[in-house]
């Protein structure tokens, strides 16, 4: 069993899995139950001056019968008295000295920051997280994402905090910006010890079509909320990867957040440079128990790859490149395994209507000339392969015309039925940057080209 323990800028944790600052980390009772279930750490629900919440507060996207693909909330920071939270944090830390307990904070004035940092650290917590990300309610009051969206303000408040704090300080970033490097670099300049991201994305969850009010509905109105859950993971991965590879930010440890539901999701964040991984929505959906699979899965994966967690961390960062660095000579084409095909012909509809018109439903379904990319008429293979399951409903692919876009493989309901197969190219690597450097970057057919 691989060693999963981590040390993130001095914050030690038996594993990289932390509860994100959110309802699952609202109370001492919850956090202790989470630790018992196996979670390595918890970022306490953001503390500040208590607020008043609305009802209702949450919305979710259902997709294809799967609940909570995406989740959104319009709740604010902790609504419990500060003293109660602090007492429980101290209690948790006393009972679980080896787990990571991080206190999330959000206040306004420098005096408030000074006071709340002192009181938070008096609990014996392992570190602080500054919530510069909440995109609803708090930002209207000049806090949360209002800070995260203003690099100068973010830098200044981080500096205040670093003046007073004795424990490591993580800055939690908002994704509601144009370029994540701007707040990331500001946090570095302010002296942050680590970064947490992403907080939630500004969103409207839907519209109640009977009442014509956005969702989640509060009486006759609603407000923009914060989007999270499985649907946001790609956005989070991009932002984490961007900070992990940039020379100005890459030395800071990252706590990756956004749509993590299982060990695979977590491993992807770690591969792109995260030291710890935080989870909110998946716990709200399924409970603390999901951590069992996360620990077991990550550990088995590392063992199977013969890697330590340290070796594995960041190992996909190098593969995250600019478009201009991609090999234009690399080619794949779709290949259908006739034995696995069930004959639904989803791939036909997808390629014909949404890609490059090169999958055909049967012998009678012939390409309409001319070929879009290659001269000549396509020939169906003779004889057409008969499927074990689909009989003569197995589609065929006009390979020279396939651009290797993946669409058919993505829509095929049978795993492994359509695979993308590499076509060897003896010409070697050629990138757009190579072409620009050698003056081969003209593609005929442009605005100023003759017919």
């Amino acid at each position: 069993m691989a060693d999963l323990s981590i040390n993130m800028c001095g914050i030690k944790s038996p594993n990289p899995f932390w509860l994100a600052s959110a309802p699952p980390a609202n109370t001492g009772d919850q956090v202790m139950r989470a630790f018992d279930a196996g979670w390595g750490g918890a970022v306490w629900k953001t503390l500040g001056n208590p607020i008043v919440n609305v009802s209702s507060r949450f919305g979710a996207i259902e997709y294809g019968g799967r609940k909570v693909m995406g989740f959104n909330n319009i709740e604010l920071i902790s609504d419990r008295p500060l003293s109660v939270n602090l007492k429980e944090i101290a209690e948790v830390k006393k009972r679980y000295p080896n787990h990571a307990v991080i206190v999330s904070l959000m206040v306004e004035s420098k005096r408030e920051w000074q006071e709340i940092i002192k009181r938070a650290e008096d609990t014996g917590c392992d570190g602080l997280e500054l919530n510069f990300g909440c995109p609803h309610g708090m930002c209207e009051r000049g806090m949360g994402s209002a800070v995260g969206q203003e690099p100068k303000v973010l830098e200044e408040i981080t500096r205040w905090v670093k003046e007073y704090a004795k424990t490591p300080v993580l800055v939690k970033l908002t994704p509601n910006i144009g370029d994540i490097l701007e707040p990331g670099v500001a946090a570095v300049r302010g002296g942050a010890d680590g970064l947490s991201l992403i907080n939630t994305i500004k969103s409207i969850m839907g519209v109640d079509l009977d009442r014509r009010v956005p969702l989640p509905r509060v009486g006759e109105g609603s407000t923009n909320g914060g989007y999270c859950g499985p649907a946001v993971r790609p956005i989070a991965l991009h932002m984490v990867g961007t900070l992990a590879r940039d020379p100005e930010t890459r030395h800071l440890p990252i706590s990756g957040i956004g749509g993590v539901s299982n060990w695979r999701d977590a491993a992807e964040f770690i591969a792109l440079g995260s030291v710890s991984v935080q989870v909110c929505t998946a716990v709200m959906h399924h409970g603390f128990r999901i951590v069992e699979d996360m620990i077991e899965g990550l550990s088995d994966y590392l063992d199977s790859q013969k890697l330590t967690l340290d070796q594995f961390r960041g190992s996909a960062v190098g593969g995250f490149r600019e478009w201009g660095e991609l090999d234009l000579n690399y080619k794949v084409v779709a290949n259908i395994n006739a034995d696995l095909c069930i004959g639904c012909q989803k791939c036909v509809a997808a390629c014909q209507d949404g890609a490059h018109q090169c999958i055909f439903s049967g012998p009678a379904d012939q390409p309409r000339p001319p070929h879009a990319h290659h001269p000549g008429v396509a020939e169906a293979p003779k004889p057409l392969p008969l499927g074990k399951l689909a009989g003569d409903r197995v589609p065929w692919i006009d390979e020279p015309e396939c651009v290797g876009c993946n669409l058919c493989a993505l829509v095929c309901p049978v795993d492994g039925c359509i695979t993308m197969q590499e076509v060897p190219n003896p010409a070697g690597v050629d990138t757009w940057q190579d072409r620009m450097a050698t003056g081969r970057d003209h593609v005929p057919g442009g605005i100023f080209d003759a017919e």
Binding site: G65, I342, G343, C344, Q345, K346, L389, A390
Partner: protein, 440 residues
């Protein structure tokens, strides 16, 4: 939809509950989400009315239930009863790609019922029609239809939707054909068939019951007073075996008995312990299951060949066996045995493979060996060709008979298939008539 036709509340069929009730909206959505929305879907091809199945299921998944019903009714105006009575296992569901994948295929019938029944409920609730007849641009035509079974109902409905006048003459007191008088109660109760008939009437179809064409109304008057005539008179009485002592109490024709079970309040099932059904088709399986479900302790089916030769569906026979029904294969009845009081005491059977005879003790015999063809009626219309089996010959596409003014569909042309085939015939005949009137 209020039906003007009343059924007695106390009928035997009421004791046999609906085996596949309407899905709740959550169940329907969950099932609809499973459908892959196939391209050029194989399930469509296996539907005799070629309903765009992926499309209507897709609409259920999005919550567009009325749209789903529209998609169904556009191709199959009796989509509601078809959803409940179609042998989907050998039609659309049997062709679903999930079968190949060894996964449970999509419950297309139940989804179709969900959509169409929701439409009926919606109309009853709001009083607003979802499908509305057009005003014909090129003149209104008038068509008479013989028999109010699925074939005529479908033909009339599609004519009415195009704005034409359709008048159905039905000799019985209740319309709906075998949907009302024959289909197994656990699939469809008579009141639900009548509910659909009322829906067809709401589209503008005129229905006259208690009128037998050929007796109360002459063929020539129909021909003279209408632009076309559609024959949807189905089949005739149950066929008999012509064996010794067959005539008399205790020996029933299957469809006659089923009609009593379904619609006759005064009918009491004879208190028998043992019943024997002769035949290997779906009607035989149906009546055997109905008898078993109504409490007859021992129900035996006698068939002249083996189980693998039965025309009844395997999935139905499997259910029958689960209900305790036994099949005695390779036996042919040669005589009914009667006791001194004249009641049935047994059935004498000949072994069709080995020869030799034996006696099966039974108190009730039900003959499900087919229905006779209705004779004579076609002669009255004149110029209508019949095939060797006595079925009306109709064009495969237009359902026009050899008398150009007369069209035909349903059991009277195919010798007895399914409701959905009758609907396809009726619909295609209506389309062909309109095409003929207005083409060029």
């Amino acid at each position: 939809m209020d039906t003007p036709y009343s059924l007695p509340a106390e009928r035997l069929e009421v004791r046999l509950p609906d085996a596949k009730p309407k899905y709740t909206s959550a169940e329907a959505r969950a099932e609809a989400e499973r459908c892959l929305y196939c391209h050029d879907a194989p399930c469509i091809e296996k539907c005799p009315t070629e309903i765009n199945i992926p499309e209507f299921i897709h609409k259920i998944a999005s919550g567009n239930t009325l749209g789903a019903a529209r998609t169904i009714l556009a191709q199959n105006i009796l989509g509601y009863t078809c959803a409940r009575v179609c042998p989907v296992e050998v039609l659309c569901v049997g062709a679903c790609v999930y079968n190949e994948w060894h996964k449970t295929p999509i419950a297309i019938g139940r989804l179709q019922r969900y959509a169409t029944e929701s439409l009926l409920e919606h109309e009853a609730l709001t009083g607003q029609a979802v499908l509305r007849p057009k005003t014909p641009t090129e003149g209104r035509r008038k068509v008479a239809l013989v028999g109010a079974g699925p074939a005529s109902l479908a033909c009339a409905a599609y004519l009415a939707l195009e704005g034409h006048e359709a008048v159905i003459y039905e000799r019985g007191a209740l319309p709906g054909g075998l949907n009302t008088t024959g289909v197994a109660p656990y699939k469809l109760h008579s009141e639900d068939s009548l509910r659909e008939v009322a829906y067809v009437q709401s589209l503008g179809v005129t229905l006259k019951t208690g009128v037998e064409v050929g007796r109360d109304l002459s063929a020539s008057s129909l021909l003279n007073d209408h632009d076309a005539v559609f024959l949807g008179m189905g089949l005739g009485a149950d066929a008999r075996l012509s064996i010794a002592d067959e005539a008399g109490p205790g020996v029933w024709g299957a469809t006659a008995l089923i009609e009593k079970i379904k619609n006759d309040a005064s009918f009491k099932l004879p208190a028998v312990k043992r019943a024997t059904v002769v035949g290997g088709g779906n009607t035989a399986i149906d009546i055997a299951r109905e008898l078993a479900q109504l409490g007859v302790a021992e129900v035996v089916m006698v068939y002249r060949r083996g189980a693998e030769h039965m025309s009844g569906y395997k999935h139905e026979m499997d259910l029958a066996r689960k209900e305790g029904i036994r099949l005695v294969g390779w036996r042919q009845p040669v005589a009914v045995l009667r006791d001194a009081a004249g009641g049935v005491s047994g059935l004498r059977l000949r072994d069709t493979q080995q020869g030799g005879e034996e006696t099966l003790s039974t108190e009730l015999v039900v003959l499900a060996i087919g229905q006779e063809k209705i004779k004579g009626l076609t002669d009255a219309f004149g110029g209508i060709a019949l095939d060797q089996k006595g079925c009306v010959v109709a064009d495969a596409k237009t359902r026009q008979t050899s008398n150009p003014k007369v069209y035909a569909g349903g059991d009277c042309i195919n010798g007895g298939k399914e409701v959905v085939n009758a609907v396809a015939d009726g619909r295609d005949a209506a389309r062909a008539m309109i095409q003929r009137w207005f083409a060029a």
